[in-house]
Amino acid sequence: MSAIAVRVEGLGKRYDMAPAISSGLLGDELAASIARPWRKARAWFNREAAAADNARTFWALRNLSFELKHGEAVGIIGRNGAGKSTLLKVLSRITKPTEGRAELFGRVGSLLEVGTGFHPELSGRDNVYLNGAILGMHRREIRQRFDEIVAFAEVERFIDTPVKHYSSGMAVRLAFAVAAHLEPEILLVDEVLAVGDTAFQKKCLGKMGDVTREGRTVILVSHDLTSIQMLCRRALRIAHGQVLGFGPVDDEVRAYLDDAKFFARGALDHAIELSPNARLEAFGFAPHVVVSGAAAEFRVKAVVTEAMRFHEIAVLIHDSMNRRIGVLDLRVATGPYAATPDEPLELVAEVRALPLVEGEYRIGLSIRTDEGHAIKYDVVTLDVVSKSEGDVVPYQASVRGVVAFDHSVRRDRSPS
């Protein structure tokens, strides 16, 4: 039997919601610390007040335990906010757990973002060294692998050009190349496979395959279930910071998709926090159930408590296997949208003919405001149903892919 690479025992991470609510100003904080002993005393006598205080804390992870062996690739699956990213953050020592412990046997490398620390003013060469050092490589190692990294990224000619002059594809390739040449015994990866073009992704997957082949351990968080199924043999399924299942990847993916049927359907049933001062109040297609090939309207409503601009809003459409099907880009040529507390942002996108095959789709969004960038997956589900007219019995939906063409057929009788 192979040896243990990662052992997690009763891991828990609690976030205190209070600082996020407070203004972060010294005055308020002083007032709060004066109130604290009083609140504690009150909690002693009053159970209701104690319960209210407990509501201010949030357990992102609780009682999490599992073990991984060397050479194993494990995918972590779960909905938004299930604790996947928090788990990786704890394992990569970015944040401390509140309780429990994790033991790692071997050199740990974590890749929570591609190109952390990349600086646009610096040349490609400088950034390779910098990013390598940030990821935990020694200068000697980077020097040894430098040519290989540059060749992998296919940016030889521009290696001494500042990265700000790179195309976004080149920058991402270079960043990924550095990460791909990190040689830890335990590799933690978060959602980074979704970069670059397909050919480059393939190259990266090949490199990741090499990693497990060499007996190293990989923990992969990805929203793309297909890539998890390809790379991992086992999957850890979590929800509300707790383990729901840990077993063969196909079983866990199936169980996850079964659970997913309870997602919000059609329209949003509660507001979603986008950033400290922005909230999503409405999001979804109208009608809630769209007929394949028919017109549909998409509505977004964001409410702000402080004036800000919305630079980008994109509706992300994924199929039931979480493959990206398409994006509704809601930007306009006239520049960013401005919103104020009095005037929320309401957008309507008209899709003239929804070109999707019947089935269930997951709708998410990517939104960039003055306060930052947020990506929310699985915000609502969209049901597309088949159109009833037509004389031909359609093929089964499972063999028709995802695009429904708006087409007609005629027989060409001209002599050949």
Binding site: M1, S2, A3, Y15, P19, G24, L26, K69, H70, G71, K89, V90, L91, S92, R93, I94, T95, K96, P97, R101, A102, E103, L104, F105, G106, R107, V108, S110, E113, T116, G117, H119, E121, L122, D126, Y129, L130, A133, I134, L135, G136, H138, R139, K202, L205, G206, M208, G209, T212, R213, G215, Q229, M230, L231, M321, R323, Y395, Q396, S398, V399
Partner: protein, 311 residues
Amino acid sequence: MGDGGGSRQTPPSPDLLFVLDKALAQVPSTVETTRVTPSLVIDQTATGLRQGLRDVWAYRELLYFLTWRDLKVRYRQTALGASWAILQPLTTMVIFSVVFGGLAKLPSDGVPYPLFSFTALLPWNLFAGAVARVTASVVGQANLINKVYFPRVLIPLSGTASALVDFACSFVILLAIMGYYAYLPTWRLIALPGLLLLAMGAALGIGLWFAALNVRYRDVTYVVPFLVQIWLYASPVAYSSRLVTERLGDWGWLYGLNPLAGIVDGFRWAVLGAGAFPAGLVGTSLVTVVVLLLGGWAYFRRTEDSFADIV
């Protein structure tokens, strides 16, 4: 549509599968490792002082790269580049010479006033620059803190180190001014590295407090420039420390509680060579700096675990 529905729900692209099958087919069946103790244990306990120092040593290359990036970016984005490091103290020296030397006629221990003030401005600017940079450092590197682990104290350390480069630039100017006034460097210059360390220690000690506080309370960003300005006038930069120590009499060494008093006086002694070594002031300042550093680092370590949760 002959292949209608294979064994998998969604067949991934065959090219991808090929790459993976090839890669995974070669996974060795057993990997024997004989490690018994984990190389890394993660739990809620904070790292101790000794482990903290060991971590910094293990990550010394990253410290070098962070400092190097800071300098490279800073001087690449400015039109005048490194000359800013020279222009700033030179301008201050001219203003001080006109206002305090010329108009107010403050005594300068028999040294030409421009040289007298420039000598003091060197350690002062090192201190003030480092405090400002360190205070802003942790908040400025929020992205790194959220995405990657490294000993957090590297960020303030690299802020202090990059202030040292500005110091080196203006030190060349000091030598030029000394030449102009025909002041020859003496053996006393060997005290400079020690005094430099003391100045950096003072800046780091103060900066660690501010940097950690700044994560939680952004008020610090506004308080620090103001505080540094007051500090300048509380330190013997524009005037001679004798103005203060003579008034304190036997308690003159108390002025060293302001670490800059000892550092600036030490600098003047080492560069201008006037009188005896100000042992009382420097000694008091040394103790103050050590206390500040230990306290600052302890506070920083106590709060660093929550940085990623707040910034």
